[in-house]
């Protein structure tokens, strides 16, 4: 029996060694670096098939994204011709062809996508593309902006419409900025185009579609600038619609135009630059979120009269009131180096100033104008200092080597409760 056991043992030792070897060898390939196993998530099968159809159709050309901060997606799938079936629109570039940019429309049929029509774009770079019913026929139109790709702000605007079988080019215009809104408030969208003659003047023209695009009105603005760094449209007053154009000049000075359409006519409400002068290109817009646009202006705090405009970190925002002109809405402290900003609380307006002894890179004191009493402080800490002071100070912002803290001497808090400084 012992001999039998020995034999069994021998056989099993061989088998065990063999299987261990097998495990060790196969282990090399099965234990992988986890990072090498990461995969880009799949798209839904619908999108996957769309992309493969597009790629097959454009034959190696590159799908492009618009250079547009509002939407940089390159493939959009709306219902263009209002037939209840989704279409897909995509732009792609063929760098070696005479026409560089092309658009393509595909239609969803069953589970797959059928390429319907291709059309040519202008220029070298797709600046923007939007889908809006600018013609008022209940169907979305394609509004695309192109540039030559050079440092030339002159751009070309093209409006396409798709009727289910072909693409029609409705309008081609040069532009610097365009806005789609209903300025004349007739219930139909209109197209506001801003064109600039560099360092001379600007023209704002409003078009509306009526069988073809017709000009409603235009106005010339004497702005010897290179570009408007910001343009927004919306309600200027609760009843009037218009646009705000922020113009920059010099190194970083700026001012704003407030153009409204009243009775079909465009009116520049702020022809003078002074009332909206700012030493920093702050953005006009609906800053307080009430649906009405505000324009910004630099505000010299009390006690800062002798200091140059360049240093001023305080900005006031104004709305337009039809009879009274600009109406103060809110005040905002903005760090000129872009590190933080905050809105003054309501009770500070007109009563609290920034102590002139403040250094904007070290320590800020907010004091009452009448008594000189400090209500709040903002300080820049090194990381080690912050560890010692974080009991008392509220964290406002931090980066790698600095922490910005806020210390309130009243019951004011950051982003907390009713008395807060809004961000």
């Amino acid at each position: 029996m012992k001999r039998v056991m020995k034999l069994i043992h021998k056989a099993w030792i061989t088998a065990a060694a063999g299987s261990l070897l097998l495990v060790a060898l196969s282990g090399c390939s099965i234990i992988k670096d986890p990072k090498s196993l990461m995969e880009t998530p799949q798209l839904s099968s619908d999108k996957e098939s769309l992309i493969s159809v597009i790629n097959a159709e454009i034959k190696g050309a590159q799908i492009i994204r618009p250079r547009d901060v509002s939407d940089i997606s390159s493939i959009r799938t709306p219902d263009l011709n209002n037939d209840g079936v989704k279409e897909a629109i995509v732009f792609y570039e063929t760098p070696d062809e005479a026409v560089r940019i092309h658009g393509m429309i595909l239609e969803h049929e069953g589970d797959t996508w059928i390429p319907k029509v291709k059309f040519d774009g202008e220029g070298q770079v797709l600046e923007t593309f939007e889908l809006r019913d600018i013609t008022g026929d209940g169907r979305l139109d394609i509004i695309a902006g192109f540039t030559s790709g050079e440092e030339d702000p002159q751009k070309g605007l093209t409006v396409y419409t798709y009727n289910g079988s072909e693409v029609e080019n409705l309008l081609t215009l040069p532009y610097n900025d365009f806005l789609i809104d209903d300025l004349n408030q007739d219930g139909l969208l209109d197209l506001t185009v801003v064109t600039l003659k560099r360092d001379q003047n600007a023209t704002v023209t409003v078009y509306q579609y009526n069988d073809s695009f017709q000009e409603l009105d235009h106005i010339q603005l004497d702005d010897p600038i290179k570009e408007y760094y910001n343009s927004v449209s919306g309600n200027i007053t609760p009843t009037l619609k218009g646009i705000v154009l922020d113009a920059a000049f010099g190194t970083h000075y700026a001012y704003s135009h407030l153009v409204v359409m009243k009775d079909g006519k465009l009116i520049d409400l702020l022809p003078s630059q002074d009332s909206t002068f700012k030493n920093y290109p702050v953005l006009s817009g609906d800053v307080d979120g009430d649906g009405i646009l505000e324009v910004g202006r630099s505000e010299k705090p009390k006690g800062w009269e002798t200091r140059p405009y360049d240093d001023i970190p305080l900005f006031s925002y104004f709305q337009w009131e039809e009879d009274k002109g600009l109406k103060f809405v809110m005040q905002q402290y903005m760090d000129l180096a872009g590190r933080f900003y905050f809105n003054f609380p309501k009770e500070w307006w007109g009563t609290v100033t920034i102590d002139p002894k403040s250094d904007q890179n070290e320590h800020l004191w907010f004091t009452k104008i009448d008594s000189g009493e400090t209500v709040a402080e903002i300080r820049f800490f090194s990381l080690s200092e912050w560890e010692r002071n974080k009991e008392d100070w509220e964290l406002m912002a931090r980066d790698n080597d600095k922490v910005i803290g806020f210390l309130s001497h009243t019951d004011l808090k950051i982003n907390k409760g009713e008395k807060e400084i809004k961000r």
Partner: protein, 502 residues
């Protein structure tokens, strides 16, 4: 494969223990490797995200958020291979994504809400659109001191999970192989225990059927070895005691037949012979003697069976041992004289020796011992009865002869019932067994030392009685008092006539 029994039990126990161990190891291994894979991927994404967000804030930070390249630049900065990158606003709405499509709706998974609260968020779950297992890592991105955006990386875990599955299956296979190995091993182990047991069981079954000649073969260790040896010994003993019993029956039949033949012969002779007074007297004498012998035999057997059943009653009194020995010597005197044997009492004590016991029974013991000594002594030799006190509270009586002696092989058995070295000598073979038990009833010990051809010493050790006043008076019995065959009184009772001792 394995039939019911201890073997299967052992294998099953091994199997269960190893299975449970391996199962736990497997579970722990699977969990640990899963944690390792997931954590590595998470760390990869969150480290990249932290690094990129630092880089972005230091070098890429664009003041003009209206810059058309804002998100494109951001996507380029944060881009990470094999992930989908999304830039979300604080509400979870997708501002930009590395895939070509517009996002359908805001993303509401827990990683986004964690990132919105200011910390790095992680989420593992299924993509609502594709059902794919993904891991999402979201980090807040500060712009102007404010957490304005959320950078969200999404990577598919399908390949990871399938690899984990492969690993788990492989390790499970290894575990199964080990389990199989251990099970086979345990079968071998079980066999090494079960085979001897089966062997022993088979032999003992044969023994139970009466085949006492069968023996357990094989050299087993420990308990099994002891068990085998015990069983073998038991069988041997059973055979031997059967043999003894058979011998007893044949010898007792013989013993009974001899006097009966005498009685029958004489009674027939007397009936046929014309009642000659002389002849009648002689015949009747022989008949009476033979009857006495029969009675003696039956008495011996009765004694023995009483002793066997613990029904022997002793009549306890104080007995003077020296007197008792002298009486014994007188009783055997006639028989000793026939063989020219001298029986001597050698007293090595200075006081009276008194023991507590049944005088008749003790006498029976010594008669038996001395009678045996005479029986196995050569003619014209000596038998010494030595009385001594080797230890306190004990008295030792030794009956020393220079007879034929007993061989070592028989020495162990002479005290067994029915054992006789030589069946021609007559007797029942019960004498020594009865004596032994009687001595033990008196709390004493009886030992036999013998050497073949040299002689035999039977020693009887008895406890002394509590001393009484009269015992303290020393009697001058020092020295030797020998009873020789010549000067002893005639005593009609021989060692076989034990009826007289009752």
């Amino acid at each position: 494969m394995i039939k019911k029994g201890i073997g299967r039990q052992i294998v099953l126990q091994y199997f269960i223990v190893v299975f449970v161990t391996l199962f736990m190891v497997e579970v722990i291994f699977s969990l640990a490797i899963r944690v390792y894979y997931y954590d590595t991927i998470y760390n990869h994404m969150s480290t990249h995200s932290t690094w990129a967000s630092d880089f972005f804030q230091k070098f890429v930070r664009l003041n003009a958020e209206r810059d058309p390249d804002y998100f494109t630049e951001m996507l380029r900065t944060f881009e990470l291979d094999n992930t989908e990158l999304m830039i979300l606003n604080r509400k979870g709405e997708v501002e930009a994504s590395s895939n070509a499509f517009q996002a359908d709706k805001a993303i509401q998974t827990s990683d986004v809400s964690q990132a919105a609260a200011g910390s790095v968020g992680k989420w593992v779950g299924r993509q609502p659109s594709t059902g794919e297992m993904v891991m999402a890592v979201s980090t807040p991105l500060q712009v102007r001191g404010e957490n304005r955006f959320i950078v969200r990386f999404v990577t598919s875990l399908e390949a990871v999970n399938s690899n984990l599955m492969k690993l788990s299956l492989l390790s499970a296979a290894v575990c199964l192989a080990v389990l199989a190995l251990v099970t086979l091993f345990s079968i071998g182990l079980a066999n090494s225990i079960v085979k001897p047991i089966n062997n022993i069981r088979a032999v003992s079954a044969q023994m139970a059927k009466g085949k006492f000649e069968s023996r357990i073969k094989g050299n087993y260790r420990y308990e099994l070895g002891e068990l085998a040896a015990t069983l073998n010994y038991m069988a041997q003993e059973i055979v031997r005691s059967n043999q003894i019993k058979d011998d007893f029956i044949s010898s007792i039949s013989h013993e009974l037949r001899t006097p009966l033949t005498g009685i029958k012969g004489w009674s027939e002779t007397l009936t046929l012979g014309g009642f000659d007074p002389e002849e009648t007297k002689l015949g009747m004498g022989i008949i009476a003697k033979e009857t006495d012998r029969l009675i003696g035999l039956v008495e011996e057997m009765l004694d023995f069976s009483k002793l066997q059943q613990n029904e022997m009653k002793l009549v306890i009194s104080r007995v003077n041992l020296k007197e008792l020995l002298q009486e014994t010597m007188l009783n055997v005197w006639a028989k000793a004289e026939q063989k020219g044997i001298q029986v001597k009492l050698e007293d090595r004590t200075v006081q009276n020796i008194t023991v507590v016991g049944d005088g008749n029974r003790l006498k029976q013991v010594f008669l038996n011992v001395v009678d045996n000594a005479i029986k196995f002594s050569n003619e014209n030799s000596w038998i010494h009865l030595v009385v001594s006190r080797t230890e306190p509270e004990k008295v030792l009586v030794e009956v020393v002869d220079t007879g034929i002696g007993i061989s070592e092989e028989h020495l162990n058995k002479v005290k067994d019932r029915f054992f006789q070295v030589n069946h021609q000598g007559g007797g029942t073979g019960l004498g020594l067994a009865i004596s032994q038990q009687l001595v033990e009833l008196h709390h004493g010990e009886m030992d036999i030392h013998s050497e073949l051809g040299v002689g035999t010493t039977v020693s009887v050790k008895l406890p002394l009685a509590e001393p009484e006043e009269e015992d303290l008076e020393s009697t001058d019995t020092t020295g030797e008092s020998a009873v020789s065959a010549g000067d002893g009184p005639d005593n009609k009772s021989g060692p076989d006539k034990e009826g007289e001792m009752r």
